[in-house]
């Protein structure tokens, strides 16, 4: 884990002041800003590295352990570099019945790395219920778009497109 004293240096001044504004908005409860800070930093960098975790802890006046507790509880917060793209395939009960295990296997075969690991370009992650059970199996792309139902062909195409990107 990086030293907490050097963390602010890795973040541009404009971004840092934006984060500070969010903390100020939380008033006397700076810890309430922790989710917002993580969301902003993840949108900016794609994931939360140790330096950024320490930065969030310092800005929110809580221990790094508290921030890590939150990061590891919520699957949408990434603590490892996922590559340029992230595909989350729902593996909860409805999607499981609708073929999610097959899709996950297929994604593993195509990406060449186990679930949760990056092949340098993208990562495929199993995910808890996306709330799209009526259109199972569902997927969540790059934290922005949902694809439901996700067909095998659409999955193959999506991963091929990502592989072609330079």
């Amino acid at each position: 884990m990086s030293s907490p004293t050097s963390t602010a240096e890795s973040v541009p001044t404009a971004l840092l002041s934006r984060l500070q504004q969010v903390v100020e908005h939380a008033g006397s409860h700076p810890e309430a800003a922790v989710c917002d800070l993580l969301r902003i930093l993840q949108a900016e960098y794609g994931w939360i590295d140790d330096d950024r975790l320490q930065l969030v802890a310092r800005l929110c006046s809580i221990s790094p352990v508290r921030v890590e507790e939150l990061c590891t509880f919520y699957p949408l917060v990434l603590r490892e570099d996922p590559g340029r793209h992230v595909l989350r395939i729902c593996d909860s009960i409805a999607c499981h019945l609708a073929g999610a295990p097959g899709l996950l296997q297929m994604a593993v075969a195509q990406s060449g790395v186990p679930l949760g690991q990056s092949n340098g370009r993208y990562s495929v992650l199993p995910h808890v219920c996306l709330g799209l059970c009526e259109r199972a199996p569902a997927a969540f792309v790059d934290g922005k778009n949902t694809v439901a139902p996700l067909s095998a062909e659409a999955l193959r195409q999506l991963l091929q497109d990502w592989e072609r990107e330079s």
């Binding site: 884990m1 221990s63 352990v65 508290r66 890590e68 507790e69 590891t72 509880f73």
Partner: protein, 770 residues
């Protein structure tokens, strides 16, 4: 949820409810499980996540009972006993088949991922999970998939983690974060992949981390020090001990076997340590096994047998040119034995070598009714002066509970403190300003009883004196509780704080005395400056640790360690408690062919006792050689009878030093503080592990930082600092920055303060070096 705390609440037992037809009494506010646990020695309801200090969580789902509604309309329902408030005439069932099946199922679920490594688990034989699993009737594993596996962490020299054994009861994290206030340990993940640990490998930072081994209901966190010298818990002989490492006097349960002291666990005392023990108390005992612990008598640094050293010592005492020095960390009888010897020889005696320390002891003895540590949480207003959490690491537990109950806590400090999170008022001050700030705080209107919690190592006697004299004007019930690292200060100094230290020094500095016999106190470690300037005094030491002067003194006599003898100790509230003999040191050796080395007892070897004499036995031997045995015994009996109107036995709650005996110290005045120039001053830096005896506990002491001078960040660019004593000697220390400490203050360890002849608050002229 029933509101819990580390201090048991006291209220009248009035009503009953019924469990399987048996009437169970309960107090208002208790839940069903709590009432059953209090009523019966062994609970008939299995449970995991409930803990008397942490309350109910309902996470483990193990403590189900059947509730029978009185209305006759609703069917019986299964409810968690820890979440069910006890109420009058409640009808509950535990013995029925449905409930038992439920307990069995939950046990099976909890055991789903638990490894079957009980034969090699340190918790075996004292495992709550094992007991509850057997009690609930789950015996055969039917779950087939692979067990969940974790990579455990390396958590330092005191605690061992085996995360695969976890049943997710959350006790560890609730203790560590909520009660101990630790910030380096947490719970990560969710669902069935929850991990309890640190961000990365490394020693746990809380001085209460050792409690994890007792809080965990199974073997996830175990005592790493015990593991080094492990025997099954049922092979240990446990006794009633008293922690000698600070003034709180926590009750302990030392466990020993085959001539080795192997572990110390907490023994509950409702007024002192209801549930927990600090790591100094838990691991400090290892000083008895320190590699450099003295075991041979010496004369001039050369080994000699005890008898010849005693002969020489007795001959020297007979010359009538010897003074005596007791010790506030030694037990009552040892001090009285030495004091009685000094009196029959009509020789000077002091319990302290430093008059300044003696004046503080006098003020501590004069305090009326210091409150019991566990009563701290009952105060609505508390002023904390100095680094109490470094001196007595269990105190934050009580302060945190007081805070949770709404107490207003004010903090006056020089060093960073974990208590800042609890303090409404937090002032960072040089030590010389603490008194004025305390006075200012007292000047505010306080209508409710309040408590002053004082780190007496950071302040001078004048502060204690001035505050103590004001007690009569405070609201009834207000008080002062001083904390310090000596385990028996009132007991050692009761007869010898009326200027005895000054008289001892005057005697030694004059021509009439040229020899000092010191018990458990090395003058060089108490006032190096004075001792250096009086190099012609011969010193004889009786101790069980190798002090600074041990190998250079005229005579040195090793004695039994505190846990190797029984003893009586007065704690900071003036409560006298008794400790039993924890063990008799012995070495395992074989009966035949000794050239092959030790042979285990289990394989037919023998135990050879290696018990050293106690200080009382050494004093008795000296009295016999001086042919003063009868007079010595008579004196000893007189002092003992006067001070001990009723002597407690090990395991008793203790008896108090009578108030009228304390009152005689209230006539004294305190010496004025030394004048301090504006500019840099010194304060004492200490780690929680630090204490004269505990410093010899290898595993615990390995956590203490290296000696340095600590300053607030941004004050100096230098790498080192040199400080000079008035005799021209100097000390050069590496300079380290310590966030959140007072400006223009140098925090240095006690050994350096003593060497330089400095006290907390003294002004200094530091030389900054690159």
């Amino acid at each position: 949820m029933c509101r819990k705390g580390i201090v048991p609440t006291r209220c009248a037992m009035a009503e009953v409810f019924y469990l399987d037809g048996e009437a169970i009494p309960f107090r208002a506010g208790q839940n069903v499980l709590e009432a059953v646990l209090e009523h019966r020695q062994e609970s008939s309801i299995p449970y995991f996540c409930f803990h008397p200090a942490m309350g109910s969580l309902g996470a483990c789902r193990q403590c189900g009972v059947m509730v029978y509604p009185h209305d006759g309309k609703h069917p019986p329902r299964l409810t968690m006993a820890c979440l069910l408030p006890a109420s009058r005439d409640l009808q509950l069932g535990r013995a029925e088949a449905k409930v038992q099946h439920e307990h069995q199922l939950i046990s099976e679920l909890l055991m789903r991922n638990h490894p079957h490594d009980c034969p090699v688990c340190d918790e075996g034989g004292q495992c709550h999970l094992q007991n509850m699993t057997v009690a609930s009737g789950h015996a055969y594993r039917e779950y087939e998939p692979e067990k969940r596996r974790y990579q455990s962490q390396e958590l330092g020299p005191l605690i061992r983690q085996e995360m695969n054994r976890c049943i997710t009861c959350y006790r560890c994290v609730r203790f560590y974060q909520d009660l101990a206030g630790g910030e380096d340990f947490g719970v990560f993940g969710s669902r069935d992949r929850v991990f309890f640990g640190r961000l990365e490998d490394g020693p746990l930072e809380s001085p209460l981390a050792g409690n994890l081994a007792e809080v965990c209901p199974t073997g996830v966190f175990t005592d790493k020090v015990y593991h080094q010298d492990y025997l099954r818990p049922w092979d240990l002989e446990e006794s009633a001990g008293i922690c000698p490492h600070c003034s709180i006097g926590c009750n302990t349960r030392p466990g020993a076997a085959r001539g080795h002291l192997r572990r110390v666990r907490q023994r509950s005392h409702g007024e002192i340590n209801p549930h927990f023990l600090c790591d100094r108390g838990r691991y400090g005992f290892r000083y008895v096994a320190a590699e450099d612990r003295p075991r041979q008598a010496q004369a001039g640094g050369r080994r000699q047998d005890v008898d010849s050293v005693l002969d020489r010592l007795a001959a020297r005492l007979a010359e009538g040119r010897s003074a005596f020095l007791g010790s506030p960390r030694e037990d009552l009888d040892s001090n009285l034995a030495l004091f009685a010897l000094a009196r029959v020889l009509d020789a000077p005696f002091a319990a302290f070598f430093e008059p300044w320390e003696e004046a503080k002891a006098r003020e501590i003895l004069a305090l009326p009714h210091p409150p019991a540590p566990a009563r701290i949480s009952a105060y609505a207003e508390i002023l904390v002066i100095g680094a109490v959490e470094r001196v007595a690491p269990t105190l934050p537990l009580f302060l945190r509970e007081a805070h949770d109950r709404g107490a207003a806590i004010s903090l006056l400090r020089c060093l960073p403190s974990p208590l800042t999170a609890l303090a409404g008022e937090d002032r960072l001050l040089p030590p010389a300003d603490l008194l004025d700030a305390a006075w200012e705080w007292l000047g505010q209107r306080h209508h409710r009883p309040f408590l002053l919690l004082i780190d007496s190592e950071s302040v001078g006697p004048e502060l204690l004196h001035l505050l103590r004299r004001e007690i009569g004007t405070w609201p009834d019930g207000s008080g002062i509780l001083p904390v310090y690292r000596q385990g028996n200060l009132p007991g050692a100094s009761f007869y010898a704080v009326d200027g005895h230290a000054s008289r001892l020094r005057t005697a030694l500095a004059g021509n009439d005395y040229d020899h000092l016999l010191a018990l458990g106190q090395d003058p060089q470690e108490m006032d190096g400056l004075w001792w250096r300037s009086h190099g012609d005094i011969d010193l004889s030491l009786i101790d069980h640790r190798r002090s600074l002067s041990w190998d250079d003194v005229w005579l040195s006599l090793p004695c039994a360690a505190l846990s190797e003898r029984s003893g009586l100790y007065y704690n900071g509230e003036g409560r006298l408690q008794a400790a039993a003999v924890a063990y008799t040191p012995a070495r395992e050796e074989r009966h035949w062919r000794p050239e092959l080395g030790p042979f285990p007892l289990a394989a037919g070897g023998a135990l050879r006792e290696e018990l050293l004499p106690s200080p009382v036995e050494l004093c008795r031997a000296l009295a016999e050689r001086l042919e003063l045995s009868e007079r010595w015994q008579e004196r000893l009996r007189f002092y003992r009878d006067f001070l001990l109107r009723s002597a407690p036995r090990p395991g008793d709650p203790g008896v108090f030093l009578p108030e009228e005996l304390r009152a005689r110290f209230r006539l004294h005045s305190a010496p004025p503080p030394r004048a301090t120039d504006q500019g840099w001053s010194v304060c004492r830096f200490s780690h929680y592990s630090e204490e004269e005896l505990a410093n010899g506990a290898r595993e615990l002491h390995s956590l203490a930082p290296a000696s340095a001078a600590w300053i607030a960040p941004g004050q100096q660019d230098a790498r080192q600092v040199r400080l000079r004593a008035v005799d021209g000697t100097s000390r050069t220390l590496p300079l380290r920055e310590l966030p959140d400490m007072a400006a223009e203050v140098l925090a240095i360890p006690r050994a350096e303060l003593v060497f330089l002849g400095l006290r907390p608050g003294d002004g200094v002229n530091p030389e900054w070096l690159d």
